[in-house]
Structure formats: structure tokens, C-alpha cells
């Protein structure tokens, strides 16, 4: 079966989630990835959403547009409030968090605030929302994003959500004692961060994609892992579940 960009991201995101963990996820591809994992290999995974929602169930065909609405809270286990939900992450209860990113640099820093100066920006973006909190407080963070050259730039001029800052141990030195970006899943491949430099490193390519394609669509030099792998394409079963959850293709495209 051929699939859309969002389906690919959801499937690759889902496969990276182990059973038994807790996941902080927003709407769109992260929600699809988490819901898919729960319905395949991770039945004991618990999800939390930014609206202060723990253990939502989701009604197929009626998925939430925001994390703060009744569709997100459908058959949830607990509604602790927004600050208290984030504080569960600060305490260390949340294993994996998902965020998106308008602009991402080679250290996994994300900018969703401004292009060109804070006070009089060229482009004012919506802002952090909970992304900064998720990347600061979860044990590890996964970024799901379309792979475009304008998204992956050498430096972000504004760090809305800190990845590894300027690399090395700079994240820890800033006071961020825990967590970090463990994985970036794009429409071209999968990346981790080289342990020393903390620079983004290609670990797997999606079928039919070459390293040169990744480099051509990235605004900085792409490190390539010595044991570069190729991902298995989404299975019919995975895609069927995603399409059952979102029959109107609002989120899977």
C-alpha cells in the first residue's frame, strides 16, 4: 500500500514506542503514532495530553483537533489540569514526549517563535505552547516532521525548545538535568544524535531514499551512522489501523 507523509511519520513514530511506557503527545501525527502503538505492540502504553488529559481512548472518526477539547478527553482516566499534567512530567513520570517543529537545527533545538528578532520579527510564529516543557521535562523526546530544507537549518536564531543547545554537555550545563532529543523521524529517514558532539545523525533511510536526498534537503552537514539501516515500509495492518482511526483522513492526509 502506498502511504501519505503523515501516515509514514505515524507508523515510524509508533514503532519507536516501547510497550509499558508513558507518552506525552499532541494532536496530529503524534496522536496517530501513539494510538497506533497502543493498538499494535504497546497495549500497556499510557498517553497524556497537554490539555491535562491522562489515558484518553479516542473515538475512531472523531479525533481531537486540539489537546483541550472533549474529543481529546473521551473516556480518559484522569483530568488533572494543565499545570499538574506537566508537573507529572517534571516529576519524571513521562518517558517519551512528542513535539513538532517549524525550524530545527543540527543540535535538535526547535524554533516555533520568531524568524528575525523577537521584538519586530519578520515572521511571528504561534509560540512554544507545551513544546518547551515537553522537551525540558520528559525522559526523551521524539520529533516527527516533514523533511524540508527550510526546516533544517544550521542554527535556529531563537531556541523555543532546547535540544542539545550548542552540543556537548551544554544542555546539562544550562540546568536541564534530564532528557533530550532521542530521535527525529522525518519523511526521508530517522536520526539520532551523535553521543559526543550531540549533532544530528542519520541512522536509517526510508525505502527508496538516498543519503544524497537527505543532504540535499538539509541546511547543514548530515552525519551518517556507520551502520545505516533502511526502515521497513508501513505494513497494510498499520495503515489499516490508522485509516480506521481517521476515516475522513483529517490527520493522516
Amino acid at each position: 500500500m502506498t502511504c501519505t507523509a503523515n501516515e509514514l511519520l505515524a507508523v515510524m513514530g509508533a514503532r519507536a514506542l516501547r510497550d509499558g511506557i508513558t507518552v506525552f503527545a499532541g494532536v496530529g501525527a503524534p496522536l496517530m503514532a501513539t494510538a497506533l502503538a497502543q493498538r499494535t505492540h504497546a497495549p500497556t502504553l499510557t498517553m497524556m495530553m497537554e490539555g491535562g488529559i491522562l489515558g484518553p481512548s479516542f473515538k475512531p472518526g472523531d479525533l481531537p483537533i486540539s489537546t483541550n477539547e472533549m474529543r481529546a478527553a473521551y473516556h480518559a482516566q484522569m483530568l488533572p489540569g494543565i499545570s499538574d499534567a506537566f508537573l507529572l512530567a517534571q516529576r519524571g513520570f513521562l518517558d517519551v514526549g512528542f513535539i513538532g517543529g517549524a525550524q530545527i537545527d543540527q543540535y535538535g533545538n526547535v524554533n516555533t517563535s520568531v524568524i528575525g528578532g523577537y521584538d519586530r520579527p519578520k515572521v511571528r510564529l504561534p509560540g512554544s505552547g507545551g513544546a518547551n516543557d515537553i522537551i525540558s521535562l520528559c525522559r526523551e523526546v521524539m520529533i516527527l516532521t516533514v523533511h524540508e530544507k527550510r526546516r533544517f537549518s544550521e542554527r535556529v536564531e531563537f531556541v523555543t525548545s532546547p535540544g542539545y543547545l550548542s552540543g556537548g554537555d551544554s544542555r546539562r550545563k544550562s540546568g536541564l538535568l534530564f532528557g533530550g532529543v532521542s530521535r527525529i523521524v522525518t519523511t526521508l529517514g530517522v536520526f539520532d544524535f551523535e553521543p559526543e558532539s550531540r549533532r544530528m545523525r542519520l541512522t536509517a533511510l526510508h525505502p527508496g531514499i538516498a543519503v544524497a536526498d537527505v543532504q540535499a534537503n538539509t541546511g547543514f552537514e548530515v552525519l551518517v551512522s556507520a551502520d545505516l539501516a533502511t526502515t521497513e515500509p508501513p505494513t497494510d495492518k498499520e495503515l489499516d489501523i490508522l485509516r480506521m482511526l481517521d476515516p475522513k483522513r483529517q490527520f493522516i492526509g
Binding site: 477539547e69 478527553a73 483530568l79 489540569g81 494543565i82 504561534p126 509560540g127 516543557d133 521535562l137 523555543t160
Partner: protein
């Protein structure tokens, strides 16, 4: 950037609160009288989150008074922020994110006003803004946290770090935010202002404790006995509330958990107006929905009654 001491001065905030009337008496009043308690230049914190339990009836009444120089804060700012800015009521917004949601794209009003230097936009992380309200609710000048450290957001609002006196680690000293006014919409309250919320509580309980003046609308005014039957559900103490107004559909066309669903189709019509005419689209909307209707009932009458009933049916379906 430095924070105005007014925002975190816990002693001044406490003295303001000590002077506030706290009698367990009737708080019921009109939207007009409630909104009249907001002064030009006030910091107004808005309850709910995004398009959930937004105190739209209070915002409607407030904007009709044509206030000036307000600062509005909200954990996730929806288009009520656009209204206040285009109406000339607010010149500063404090939030972690602004927009409606993915299907509606970036806020064109946020872009236009911030990019042209006409709007001060102070960004915090979602939790950091929540902790600002919570610190104020607790009556302390800051709360230590592990969030926002290392990010450029630290410079935007004038955040400081503190060395932990026990472990020596660097912590974010999230400054308290004591708003002048909080606007809240809840499910039910007795006439003394003891308020109960169904579903997700958002940050409303903290806002009610943090602000000097609390203006609240409720879907339903219930008896003293009814509140006393379920005191565990009361999250806002009556003595915190200064004005209470009975407003069914007080968040509509935003949602109210279990009562009515949001109306995304209405958001699309609103955003289409902005796509076609820019800020004039908002001005036209305000003229039709805020300034023209003389009462909140007139405002609600602008929406199809069958649509409202359907929104109520969807809400029941999603919460049972």
C-alpha cells in the same frame, strides 16, 4: 526585558487581597456590572484554554465598554486575543501559544500586529505560565522549576534562575503573576460564588486565587444545598469571587465540557473574514457579534438554535 514588579510583588498583592471584601454574601449581578470592574490598563487573565470554557460572555461585555491599555494573559490564547487587539482594547498579550488550531493556520492578526511593532507579545512555556499563576495563587513571588531553562524564552519575559540552596543546582525561578482581574466561566455556582467545574479544570482554580478581582459566569446557578451536597467538587471558593453572572452558553461558540461542543465551522467563517479583509474582518465580526447585540441573549440569537442544540447533544455523547 524585565518583569514589572507589580506582577510578582507578593506583599503588595497580599495587601490588596486583604483589603478585598470577603463576605459570604450574594455575588449575583449583571454582565455589564461585572465588566465595569475592569479598569483601563488592567492585567486581565482569561480562564479556560484555547476554545474550551473561554469566558466569552464576560469578554463580550468587557469589549462593549471599549476599554484601553489592557494586558491579556491566557495559557493558550485563542481569537479573543485577536478581538482585544483589533478593538484597541489590549496592547500586550502574555501567553505560550496563539491561534485556534492546526486547520486554521497561523494567526494572521498576531503576525500583522507583532511584525509591525503594534503589539507586545510576551511568550512563556505553557507550564511556566501555569506556574506563574500558581505561584501567585500560593502567595509566593516565584516557584522553582526545571522548565524553560537554556531556552531563548528565558530572555523574553525577564526570567531569572536561582541556585538551589540544598543541591546547588540551577533552577528556573518562575516569577509569580498576580493579575488585576480574572475572567472565568464555570459549570455551576451558588449565589455566593462557590464554583464547580466539570471535566478538565484548566488553570481556573489558580486564576481565582491569583487575581485581585474575580469575575465569574456560570452555566447554572444552583442552591446552597446543591453545592453542599458535593463540596468535593467545589474548586473556587466564594470568598474569592467578586461578581457572578448566570450565563447559559457563556462560552459559546467555544466548548463547555459536557454542556456543548465547540463550533469549528464558525471559527472557519471568522478566519475566512480575516483571510479576505485582514483586521477589517475582525472589525466586521466585532460589529456584528459584540457591539450590535444589546444583550447576551441577542448575541446568542445570532447563532442558529438548532446548531446550539446539536452542540449540546455532541457534548453529551462525548462525555457519557
Amino acid at each position: 526585558m524585565t518583569i514589572a514588579p507589580k506582577e510578582f510583588d507578593f506583599q503588595v498583592a497580599r495587601l490588596r487581597l486583604e483589603r478585598k471584601a470577603k463576605s459570604a454574601s450574594e455575588k449575583l449581578t449583571t454582565l455589564e456590572a461585572a465588566a465595569a470592574r475592569v479598569n483601563d490598563g488592567d492585567h486581565v487573565a482569561i480562564g479556560g484554554c484555547l476554545y474550551s470554557r473561554t469566558p466569552l460572555a464576560l469578554i463580550w461585555a468587557l469589549l462593549r465598554r471599549r476599554p484601553r491599555g489592557l494586558t491579556l494573559s491566557r495559557n493558550l490564547m485563542s481569537y479573543e486575543g485577536e478581538w482585544a487587539v483589533v478593538a484597541g482594547a489590549a496592547d500586550k498579550l502574555v501567553t505560550s501559544w496563539m491561534g485556534i488550531g492546526l486547520p486554521w493556520g497561523l494567526s494572521r492578526i498576531q503576525r500583522e500586529y507583532v511584525e509591525s511593532g503594534r503589539l507586545e507579545f510576551e511568550e512563556w512555556s505553557h507550564l511556566a505560565l501555569g506556574l506563574r499563576y500558581r505561584a501567585a495563587a500560593m502567595g509566593v513571588p516565584f516557584l522553582p522549576s526545571l522548565t524553560m531553562l537554556g531556552s531563548s524564552l528565558m530572555d523574553v519575559g525577564g526570567s531569572k534562575t536561582v541556585e538551589c540552596p540544598y543541591t546547588g543546582e540551577t533552577l528556573h525561578a518562575v516569577p509569580a503573576l498576580f493579575p488585576d482581574v480574572a475572567l472565568l466561566h464555570v459549570h455551576r455556582a451558588d449565589r455566593f460564588g462557590n464554583g464547580q467545574i466539570d471535566g478538565y479544570p484548566h488553570m481556573d482554580a489558580d486564576l481565582a486565587r491569583a487575581a485581585t478581582t474575580v469575575l465569574m459566569t456560570a452555566e447554572e446557578i444552583v442552591s446552597d444545598d446543591e453545592i453542599r451536597r458535593h463540596p468535593d467538587r467545589t474548586v473556587i471558593p466564594g470568598f474569592a469571587v467578586d461578581a457572578l453572572v448566570h450565563v447559559p452558553y457563556g462560552s459559546y461558540p467555544h466548548e463547555c465540557y459536557g454542556r456543548y461542543d465547540a463550533e469549528p465551522a464558525h471559527f472557519t467563517v471568522y478566519v475566512d473574514g480575516i483571510k479576505e479583509r485582514g483586521a477589517a474582518g475582525v472589525t466586521d465580526y466585532l460589529e456584528r457579534y459584540v457591539y450590535a447585540p444589546r444583550t447576551h441573549a441577542d448575541y446568542l440569537a445570532l447563532f442558529d438554535e438548532a446548531a446550539r442544540r446539536d452542540a449540546a447533544a455532541r457534548a453529551r455523547m462525548l462525555t457519557t
